[in-house]
Structures are given as C-alpha cells and as structure tokens.
C-alpha cells in the first residue's frame, strides 16, 4: 500500500509540472560533427545553444545532435578543453527542420590548457562529476577477452576477488566494501535480480560503452540503497547501424563470442541485438596440500576436473528512437542460460565430481526515455520481470577425490541430496523525472521498486513444495535530488532517499517492514579547468539483500536475522591534469575515504556448515574504514601510455564487546581479516599507427596486477610467522597483449597472455585461480552512417 502511495505522489508532481507549461512551438533539430583544425575528431566536446538550457557533448565519433530548438535566431557554441571556443549563428525558420553544422576548433597553444590524457578522453565528463567516480572507457578494451569484472579490477580502489576461472563466483571490493554493499546497474537499471545468467562476470566488455564506478556515495538517480558504491554499465546507443562481432579461443578450452548489432531506419524504427557466449573447461591445474592428494612431500598440482562453465545470452530490443514522443521507446527481451559444474565448496577439501547448477533468464523489459518532454523536463521509465530460475542438481550416489576417482556410496548427493528449481520472481520498475528549473538549478525525483518472491520446486519430492515457507521481499527506494551547477566553476548536489522494505520470512514467522531515511551531498569545485577538488558525504542505509537473507543456493547460507546496515560515508578527492610542451601529458587522481558503519554486514565462513564449506553474512556492531587510492597516468604524443593505480584501505573492528562478555574484546580495534588492503595495477601500452599501410595499427600492452598478502583470520591472533598462520599470499600477475587492427579498426586480431609467469594466484584462501593462459581474439567492426 505504501508503495502505491509513492507512485501517486510522483504522478501528481509530474502532472502538476506538465500542467504549467504546455505550449505549441515549431521544433528544430541540429546535428553535426566537431573536429580540430588538424582534422582530429573531438570526443566529449560541449555543444550549447546559447540562451537556452539545451546542451550536449559529442559522442565517440565527434558527433552531436540537439532536438526541440525553437524558431528564431540562435547562437551555437562549441567548447573543448585546450581549444578556442567556436560560435556559429543560426537562423531557424521554415524548412528543413533538421540542420547540419560543422565545427573546426583551433587549438590553444598553451601547454597547461591541454589536460586530455590519451586513453581517458571519452569518459572525462563522467569523471568530472562531484561524486567519487571513475569511468572505464570500455571501447578501449574491445579487442580483449575481458568481461566487465576483469575490467573493473584495473580501477583504483577496486579489487575483484574470484574463486576460480571463467564463470566462477566473484566478489568486488570497493574501498573495502564488498559483496552486496556494491550494487550493479546496466544503463541505470538495477541488476540485483538478474540471476546467474546475466552477471558482470559473464557480460563481455564489448557490450558496454563505458563502465562507471561510484565509490562510496552513489548518486540519487541510480536509486538504490547501495552503501559501498555502485557500478553502472553504460551500453549507450553508440551507432544507429553497425555490426561488432568478436570471437576468441584460448587456454583451458575457453571460447567466447560476442555479436552486437543495430539497424535503424530513417523513420527511427530500430532493432538492437546483443548476443554473447562463454565456454570454458576451466581445467587448469591447482596446487593441493598432501592431505588431498595422498602424496607426501612437496605439494603437487592436479587439474580441475569438474568445472565446465558455459553461458549463452541474447538481448534484443525493438522500438523507435528520435521520435517527438520519445528519444527511445524500446521493448526488449533478455534470454540466457548458464551451466556450471561445481568443483569445490568454499575450500578444496570439499571436492565434487557431479554436483552442478543451471540457471536461466527470460526477462521482458520496457525502456522509455524522453528529454524535454516539456521544456527542461526529462522522463525515464524502465520495467522488467525475470521469469528465470536457478536449479541445483546434486544427485550422485558417490563421492569424488581430486583425481576424479568416483567412490560409490549408499546415500545420494555429494553435499546434500538435491534437485530443485528456484524461481525468484524478480520484478523491477523505475521512474525518474528531472526538471531543469533554470540554467543553474535542477531537481529530480527517482523511484525504484523491486520485488522478490522465491518459489522452490523440489523435483525429488514434489510434495515438499507445499511446505516451502514463503520467502518474499519488496523494496522501494524513493529519492529526491537538487543540484546547482555553474559550468566549470562548481557544482553541488543534495539528495535524500526514503527506503521501504517488507520481508516475509515464513520460516522465522517474520513479516517485517523497515523504513529508513538517508541523505547526503556532493560538491565539486574547479580551481581551474585542469584542477578539480570534490567532496561528498552520505548517511547511507543498506537493507539486507534477498541472497543474504535467503541464501544464494550455492555457497552462501541464509541468515534471516540479518539487520540493515547504516553508514556515514565521507569522500574527498582531486583530479589534476597537465602537460609539458604538449607532448608529455599527465593526470593525477587521488581520493581519500572515511566510513563508519554500524551493523556492518560481513561475510564469513559459516562455522556451522558442512566442512565449514559455506559462507554466511553476519552483522558486526561497528567497522570503520580509512582508505586512500590514486591513479597516475602519463602519455607521450599519441603512441605511449603508462598508468598505475594504488589502493590502501584499513578496515578496523570497532565492536568493543562480544556478546555475553563484559570485558573488552581481544580483537577490538583489530584490522578486519580476509580483506585485501593494499593493491595496485600498472599498465603500459604502445600504439604504432599506420604500420605497413595507412589505417593499420599495432598496439602492444602490458598489465601488472599486485595484491599484497593478507590474513584469513584475525591478524593480531596467533604467531605472525607465515608457517603458523593462514594467509592469502601476495599476488603478482603479468598480462601482455598484442592487437593488430586493419582498415581503421574494421578487422582486429589480438593475442593475449595472462599470468605470464604462471605463479599460483589466489583471491580467496586456497581457491586457486587459472595459471598461464593464451587467448586469440578476432573482431570485426562495421559502422554505416545514416546521413
């Protein structure tokens, strides 16, 4: 009932606004391209119709388009850092209603003015928000075999922890927060309930245009109760008509294929298709202790033998774009499935030879967006419903050892006799209305409603289905934001969130309603165009996720008594760019964070699970985090780029008393265990242009991953001697890649070598990741311009 009431308010406000300002006008559209006087495409240049609030930035091809410009005399201004502003006069009267414009900007010969560092241009605008945000330019990674999660691993403050190879479980840690503290979005739509067939560990990077990582304070328009940060995958509508197909093959019988294509008619009817597939045997070797191999002496390595993973996903959208009633109106469907063999539990001690999972996603969706529905007002509406299921199959009447040897036994099931389908019945509806009151003031309202209702179909004993207790969760996040903006001087955002959650946990006889209010601000100040300082604060609330309360049916046990977490969240950061005689360009980004979380939700090994092989979420009374991270990039002319990131974070246990005790806890003020706290990345790439013939380019890249050793259990307890304490050893992984592209990127061949030194890598205690691997990737890209 509460939720319905929220919707009423939104629509009420919406109608009030519409009622005030409907008026008929002749509408014009301008479109065109921005280049430098030397012919270089300028990406991210700002276009503005002076005296109005209409503006945009150029896309990856230097193109822009602005709709709904009224009849009359106008001045169009184009600005780009390091270039002289260009203004063109334009008289809009009569026909045609679409006008073409071309801009050629002249470079300012001022060394300090040029802040554009190679490799970061397209995402610069995002990075300049007041929020603590980093955007990864996905287009630069299209010739790799990366998925979204591995691309994130290169962002300062971000650590992706995986339990194995392709398709394995992952956990992203962002400034020390991890698991469900971090929320994922695709084009601003929460991905919480998409299921295992469509997750950031199986979405190839090529599906994205950029990936935005919000650390800490998450903008209101993303509408969620994220507390540690958010990852937003922006797929964008890069091209109206194009085909981008790639296929890779490599070690451990790994195949990946991606096809992205769109066709758009002149009338605006569009079909967009994105299809991808991953397959891997994941049969890489892992080092095992003698107790698991029965070979005394030094540890030996055995291949993983039950770890095949594959997934196939198709996303199709049909609709219209660039219409008077909608910028886009798309009806779509996401269909996918995945198959995953379970090699181990949370430890290699629990080894399986037949236990596996399947999952699928069948998700119809609706996307609607209209800018300037009435002057200054933008409306976005999204909705989807996931009809998919997850299925666990553990029916073997045997146990297996690490040699893959099957030993028959009397009882069914390796872990527990199961064959059950789980329908989570996830639904989602979001609506966002933003209104630009004047040049500098704007307001927005955002509402996100989601529902979860897990239904179990026991395929072994169907009679059990009737006994299955209700597991239901409805959540609504209503946000309001106000922002004040003086271009290139300063900007401020203030926002509030109202979170409503209703959990029905029949097994515990619970029907709880929780309501929380959160608020915050984000301010950015530009000392000069090249130096930005930003700070943000949020009083954030995070509700327990369905998977934390009800379990993930894989390696996470349910905890129905989990409490919401509350956190004070401070961020401060700066971005500075400069160049020396225009050839050497530098950019420096630095961020500092402080968090204090009460009822911190923390994932640990469930001591009560079989062989202590599963994890569970628990509340910790208080945890504080202090962190710093930074990124330095350097580029020379347009052929050399070197960058590095470094992150240090210190999470401290502030729970002073353990339950049932009156004295100070021995681990009070201790560093939280099993969380990486010092890590970084180093990358370098050399691009050689016009090799052989014009339009053929060669890029050679190198990436180094570093994660400092950390302890599995409390650091202060036990001897700190490595031999007497369980730790996750320091990781150093070297990756190299080589990309050869022909005809200005139409055909691309790339070769990648991962973990070149073949050192055992671990993100999680004793769960080894793949060793050295080689991958060949072929990509074809074709783009046909309409006009």
């Amino acid at each position: 009932m509460q939720i319905a009431a929220h919707y009423k308010y939104i629509w009420l406000i919406l109608f009030l606004i519409i009622g005030f300002s409907v008026q008929a006008q002749e509408k014009y559209t301008i479109e065109g391209m921005v280049r430098s006087t030397t012919g270089e495409l300028l990406i991210g240049a700002g276009i503005k119709v002076l005296g109005t609030n209409k503006s945009t930035v150029t896309d990856n091809e230097g193109k822009f388009k602005i709709h709904d410009i009224r009849t009359g005399d106008h001045k169009i201004s184009v600005r780009y850092l390091g270039y002289v502003e260009s203004v063109q006069k334009l008289v809009l009267v009569g026909t045609p209603v679409i006008r073409q414009l071309k801009f050629n900007l002249k470079s300012i010969h001022n060394d300090l003015a040029e802040v554009v560092v190679m490799g970061r241009t397209a995402v610069k605008e995002v990075n300049r928000q007041a929020f603590n945000v980093t955007a990864v330019d996905a287009t630069k990674l299209y010739n790799t075999t990366m998925d979204i999660s591995s691309a994130l691993d290169r962002v300062a403050g971000v650590r992706v922890r995986e339990t194995g190879g392709v398709g394995s479980s992952f956990n992203i840690s962002l400034n020390g927060f991890s698991g469900k503290h971090i929320r994922y979005f695709i084009d601003g739509i929460p991905m919480d309930n998409f299921g295992s067939s469509f997750q950031i560990n199986n979405i190839p990077i090529n599906v994205a245009e950029r990936v935005e990582v919000y650390k800490g304070v998450v903008p209101m328009w993303l509408g969620s109760d994220a507390l540690g940060g958010a990852v937003n995958i922006v797929t964008g509508n890069k091209h109206r008509n194009y085909v981008d197909a790639s296929y890779s093959y490599g070690s451990f019988n790994t195949h990946r294929g991606v096809i992205n294509a769109a066709a758009t008619s002149k009338s605006g009817f569009t079909v967009q298709v994105s299809a991808f597939q991953n397959y891997s045997d994941n049969n890489y070797k892992v080092q095992l202790p003698s107790r698991l191999t029965n070979v005394q002496g030094p540890e030996i390595s055995l291949p993983r033998f039950h770890d095949v993973y594959h997934n196939e996903t198709l996303i199709a959208n049909v609709g219209v774009i660039d219409k008077s009633f909608a910028d886009n109106l798309l009806f779509g469907i996401t269909m996918g499935q995945n198959y995953k063999e379970m090699q181990t539990g949370a430890r290699p001690d629990e080894v399986f030879g037949a236990f596996h999972r399947r999952g699928n996603i069948v998700m119809p969706s609706l996307k609607y967006k209209k800018t300037n529905l009435i002057k200054g007002m933008d409306v976005t509406i999204n909705a989807n419903y996931n009809l998919g299921f997850e299925r666990n199959i553990d029916t073997a009447r045997a146990s297996y050892n690490w040699y893959g040897l099957r030993t028959p036994k009397a009882a069914y099931g390796e872990r527990a006799h199961t064959d059950a389908k789980y329908y989570n019945h996830n639904g989602l509806a979001t609506a966002m209305v933003s209104y630009k009151i004047s040049e500098r003031h704007s307001v927005a309202i955002n509402n996100v409603f989601s529902t979860f209702n897990r239904e179990t179909k026991d395929l072994l004993i169907p009679a059990n289905d009737k006994l299955d207790p209700t597991k239901k969760m409805d959540k609504n996040v209503l946000g309001f934001g106000y922002s004040y903006d003086i271009d290139n001087k300063w900007s401020a955002n203030f926002f509030g969130k109202y979170i409503y959650q209703n959990n029905i946990i029949e097994s515990k006889n619970l029907n709880n309603v929780t309501e929380k209010i959160g608020y915050g601000f984000a301010i950015a100040y530009f000392f000069n165009p090249n130096l930005q300082v930003r700070t943000s604060y949020e009083m954030a609330n995070r509700m327990p996720e369905a998977t934390e309360i009800f379990g993930d049916l894989e390696n996470q046990d349910p905890n129905p008594t989990l409490k919401p977490e509350k956190s004070d969240n401070f961020n401060i950061g700066m971005i500075y760019g400069f160049s020396l005689n225009k050839e050497h360009r530098f950019s420096v980004t630095a961020n500092g964070i402080y968090r204090y979380s009460s009822d911190f939700i923390y994932n640990t090994i469930n001591l009560l699970s079989k062989a202590q092989g599963k994890t569970i979420s628990n509340n910790k009374e208080g945890v504080s985090t202090i962190g710093v991270d930074g990124e330095v990039r350097y580029s020379y002319k347009n052929w050399l780029s070197i960058g590095g990131t470094m992150t240090y974070q210190y999470l401290q246990n502030l729970q002073k008393y353990e339950d049932g005790y009156t004295s100070e806890s021995d681990v009070y003020l201790d560093q939280m265990p099993n969380i990486p706290y010092l890590f970084g990345n180093l990358d370098a790439s050399v691009s050689l242009r016009d090799i052989g013939k014009k339009g053929d380019h060669l890029t050679v890249g190198y990436n180094l991953l570093y994660v400092n050793q950390f302890w599995l259990y409390w650091p202060s307890l036990g001897s700190s001697n490595m031999a007497d304490k369980n730790g996750i050893p320091t990781q150093l992984a070297h990756d190299v890649n080589l990309v050869y592209s022909m005809k200005n990127g139409r055909y691309n061949i790339s070769l990648e070598a991962k973990n070149l030194t073949d050192k055992p890598l671990y993100d999680n205690f004793s769960l080894q990741k793949p060793g050295r691997g080689f991958y060949l990737n072929l990509r074809y890209f074709f783009n046909k311009n309409q006009q």
Binding site: A611, V628, Y713, G718, S720
Partner: protein, 410 residues
C-alpha cells in the same frame, strides 16, 4: 622517470600512512611471550566471526601466562577436536558429515611443530588404540534401503595415514531396533567398548530411556561381539562425551546423566548414576550402583576426568536444569569406591563462568586435575584441582579466548 618517481613517492606515502595507522591502533596491551613446554592448549578466540583455533605451548599449568595474541599456531578454522597419542597431537576439523582436515603435530624443544596433515571422515567418536587412532562415524537416521551402517577408520600414528576402514551394523548393538549412537569409544584390554544411546531419529529420540548399553568389538577387525546391558540406569555417557573410565585394578566405571529424551522432554525414570563392570568381565556388576543424585544431594553428573586412585573430578548440574547438552559448571570430587561426592571449593561461581573446558588433563597421580575455565569478565584460567583436599586454585592464565583442550605431549 618522472612517472616512476611519482609512483615511488606515492607508494611511500601510502606505506607511511599505513605505519601511522597501525602504530596507533591498539591500546597498550601487555605483550606475553611464548611459553615453551610440553603442554599444548587449544584456544578458541571469543570473537564471534572470522575465527580459528590456536595451539599454544606452556611449560606449566600451575603458573604463568600464555597468550594467543601474537603467539600460537593457527588452525584452519574452529569447531575442532584434539587428541593426543604418545608424542603426537592430532587436530581434527569437525566437518559436519563431510571429510575434515586432520593436522598432526609434535613438540620439539617446547615448540609445536607440524608433522603432516591428512583428510579424515568426520566422526562422532575417536580414541587412541594401541599405536592407532580409531574413529567412528555413526548415522542418525535409518538408511532408506539396506542396512543402516556406521563407518570406522583406523589411522596409524606412526605413518599418519589411514590403514583400514570398514562398516558395522549400527542397529544390531542396541538389540531393540533403534540405532546405537556411540557416545564415545574406549580401548579396554584388547577390545573396543562403545557405550551408546539408542535413538530412532536425528532428533535423538528414544523409546528406551531406561536402558544402558555398551557394544563390544574386537580390534582391529571391529567385529561385533556382544552388548553389555543394564536397565538400572539410562544410557552411558553423552553426545561427544566419554562416560567410561578404566581404573588401576582394571575395573570399568560408567556414568549416566539420565538425559534420554523424546518429544523434547527427558523421559528416563532412572536417576543419574555410576555403575561398574568388574575387570575381566563383560557384564555390569549388579552388586554396584551409585545413585549420584542422592550422593550429591540433588546434582547430576555431566562429565568427568579420571585423576587416578578411583577418584574423578566431575562436572555437576542441578537436577532441575539438566539437559542433554547442558554442561555442569560446578565441580566435585567423586570417589567411586567409597561412593562419595565432595564439592570442590575455590572454583569460580557457576554464575561467573561462561564455559568449562571439556577436554582436560590429569597426570593420573590420584589427586591432580587441570580444568580450563572461561569467565564472564573475559579472563580464562587453568584451575588446578586437588582431589585430596577438594580444592581448586588458579593456575595458568590464558589470554585471548576459551580453552578447548588441555593436553600433554611427551
């Protein structure tokens, strides 16, 4: 070059920041050095999450301090069980039905050193037998098809590998159709005695609450030989608790807590008692019965530690608050020959105790036992209990957690 410099500068400043943070993080806690010796204490931290057990050595249980803060060999996880066989100390993970890792240690010059590790099935009872460790895993429910079987495993303490395994009929021993769930196993001469509670489901319910049974097996073939039966008491021992003791003259004493249950209530009509099997026989001695409840003025016995010369340190619980999993926090000296129960003085109040260690140590000199105690004020101690004076005195202080086991390794 400039770039490298920046990176180095940054890395350095990060490290400095780290150093400053870590140096100011702890209040000045006393640093307790290692305490080399042949006693091994297994300590479980009080922390509720992310914890593992630690093994520390001590030279004496009667004085001094040991700490797991900065000391001790970390075990992989908690919920572990510890057993000593001669010079070897075994640390076993309780895998809840799945195999668990077992790590073997010895003590060299007062320091714990790891010998090997292996994987063993999760078991419900284990005991040193000759130069082996015998382990038994008992089902809690009837097999859907075929006979209901318990599994046994024998691990050699000389080679640290499993030397044999087999199954035994889990129902036969009860002779009443219910599962004979071993409370513990014990070597008696050349035989294995396995006192059991008879259960009909995994809620541990029984229709035979006034029945004590001990299954007898040959070793090492684990052939079932007979069941020693009695109807004067309820079952012998408790879940994961050794209810049998062999005294110097070869007689075997057994205790019953009288905690058989059905439908969530205790159903035995028999009082908590101690019974006897004379040396060389395989029948209960019908001439001997010690009613523990009358001898102690209203307590039941929940566990005991044999200290030699027919004397035990017993854990006592008030009859009204007893239960299948309630561990008594009061101590008494029990003389099984004279059938006396004498309360121990000098031991902390039950109200101030969080936990009394289950796995304790006695040199079997007829008077001394060492009991671990964790108090609500957060401190943990080894108490020396003197069975000749019925007194307890504070001994070794243990910092950082609860004592799970006190063992002596030669």
């Amino acid at each position: 070059m400039t770039y490298m410099k920046t990176m180095i500068t940054k890395a350095l400043s990060v490290l400095m920041f780290a150093a400053v943070l870590s140096s100011c993080k702890k209040n000045n806690r006393e640093v307790i050095p290692e305490n080399p010796g042949n006693y091994i204490l297994a300590v479980t931290p009080v922390a509720q999450t992310g914890k593992a057990d630690y093994l520390v050595t001590a030279s004496s249980l009667e004085e001094g301090k040991v700490s797991i803060i900065g000391n001790g060999v970390e075990q992989d996880g908690t919920y572990r069980y510890y057993v000593t066989s001669g010079t070897k100390f075994f640390s076993m993970l309780y895998g809840r039905g799945n195999p668990g890792a077992v790590t073997v240690y010895d003590v060299k010059e007062g320091k714990i050193s790891k010998l090997s590790d292996f994987t063993a099935a999760t078991v419900h009872a284990f005991a040193p037998v000759n130069k082996d460790i015998l382990m038994v895993k008992v089902p809690r429910a009837y097999a859907a098809t075929g006979p209901t079987l318990a599994n046994w495993y024998i691990v050699s303490t000389e080679t640290n590998v499993q030397t044999s395994e087999g199954t035994l009929d889990a129902v036969a021993a009860s002779q009443n159709g219910e599962i004979a769930h071993f409370s513990w196993i014990k070597q008696v001469g050349t035989k294995i005695f396995a006192p059991f509670f008879s259960i009909k489901n995994n809620s541990f319910e029984t229709d035979y609450p006034d029945f004590a049974g001990i299954a007898v097996y040959s070793y090492p073939t684990m052939q079932y030989e007979k069941t020693i039966k009695d109807t004067r008491t309820s079952f012998i021992g408790r879940y994961f608790t050794d209810g049998l003791a062999v005294v110097e003259n070869g007689d075997i004493y057994a205790f019953s807590s009288s905690v058989a249950q059905k439908g969530g209530v205790l159903t035995s009509t028999k009082p908590s008692s101690i019974t006897r099997i004379k040396a060389g026989t395989t029948e209960f001695d019908q001439t001997y019965l010690m009613n523990f409840e009358t001898a102690s003025n209203g307590y039941v016995i929940t566990n005991w530690l044999y200290v030699g010369q027919n004397k035990f340190i017993a854990n006592l619980e008030v009859k009204a608050t007893t239960g299948a999993y309630v561990d008594g926090k009061r101590l008494a000296i029990v003389d099984v020959v004279n059938k006396t129960v004498s309360m121990v003085t000098g031991f902390p109040d039950a109200a101030s105790i969080v936990n009394v260690t289950v796995n304790n140590y006695s040199p079997k000199d007829g008077k001394t036992g060492y009991m671990g105690v964790n108090l609500t004020d957060g401190t943990t101690w080894v108490y020396k209990v003197d069975a000749s004076t019925n007194t307890a005195t504070r001994g070794l202080k243990v910092e950082g957690g609860l004592i799970t086991a006190i063992q002596h390794v030669k």
